[in-house]
Symmetry: C2
Subunit: 191 residues, 2 copies
């Protein structure tokens, strides 16, 4: 099933080149979506075919030791769908979308999580994970970790095992890694 | 850049087997999201690694003659992100997310389109398509064609050329194909 006819682990030189290529295209936009927030915009990485491929390879490089031991990748709506699907296809895993309320049509489980003001809720189809499934959670950004924690809890609530949480970008100052507790956390680029 | 170390065009037997595998996993859910609507749920296709790969191959099979002649794939938020990204990565194209208002952080162009009641708007980053770019528009579902038409208009407004619009599922009775006018329309499964 593995369609990547290339090594999963990058050489140090290839890793460095890929990181330079990808991080050079992440665009920082001040005051979005609210004043005082510096938004890390990954769309220029997506636009560029070579950078997109480099980013997929960097995701896989971070968890290469898990290749062949992942049943499903969970991607969090909606930017987690992007590399979630590309990595799932490249590694030969199934993909599970975790979505906002009202989007998934069949029976779901849900998890509430705290926002700065108020709370929100994520849903996953109840048949998306079976007991014993080895699951990789993917999102584009690890900030406070609230959504990733909720996604991990959904997986674990159905008896799945979160083998790692994988992010393109980690904003280290926001403490998301701590919020994810004992779970393995990997990120491609750390600010 | 092409990471699919396999033929782009499926043999008739492989195509038939892949279609059987994928269409057998599309789940029909009555009265979602509103009474009287029969929702075609693709999540069981995503969950299954082999079916996911078969679906990617069926997408590529439909537009195999365009391989190497596509610069960017446009995917429509949010289910269009799924196969949009997987196909973009497999074919070695860039990916452009078309999103709902308020989601894209840099300068955007936007297009209004009619809903059954009222209207909605889609945005694309203004730097996502350049004049002459050959663009494939991907979404999971072709229904009335309103969102796909809006996405195509965004591409064309920036001087790009829509080489095809590609869908996993087409609901033929809703006339989306006609709404897309002279543009090439391809779909994997037609109901």
């Amino acid at each position: 099933m593995n369609v990547l006819a290339r090594p999963l682990v990058l050489s140090p030189a290839d890793r460095e080149a890929a990181l330079t290529q990808v991080s050079g295209l992440v665009r920082s936009i001040p005051d979005f979506p609210a004043p005082g927030i510096l938004f890390r915009d990954i769309t220029p990485v997506l636009h560029d075919a070579a950078a997109l491929d480099a980013a997929v390879r960097l995701h896989i490089d971070r968890i290469a030791d898990l290749a062949g031991q992942i049943d499903r990748i969970v991607g969090i709506e909606s930017r987690g769908f992007l590399f979630g699907m590309a990595v799932a296809h490249a590694l030969g895993c199934g993909f599970v979308p975790v979505r906002k309320p009202g989007k998934l049509p069949a029976a779901t489980v849900h998890q509430t999580y705290a926002l700065e003001y108020g709370q929100d809720r994520l849903h996953m189809h109840a048949d998306a994970v079976s007991p014993g499934d080895r699951v990789l959670v993917i999102d584009d950004l690890l900030a406070t970790g609230g959504t990733a924690q909720a996604a991990a809890q959904l997986v674990e609530g159905l008896g799945g095992r979160v083998v790692a949480c994988l992010f393109l970008i980690e904003l280290a100052a926001l403490g998301g890694r701590a919020r994810l507790g004992d779970r393995r956390v990997e990120s491609v680029i750390v600010y």
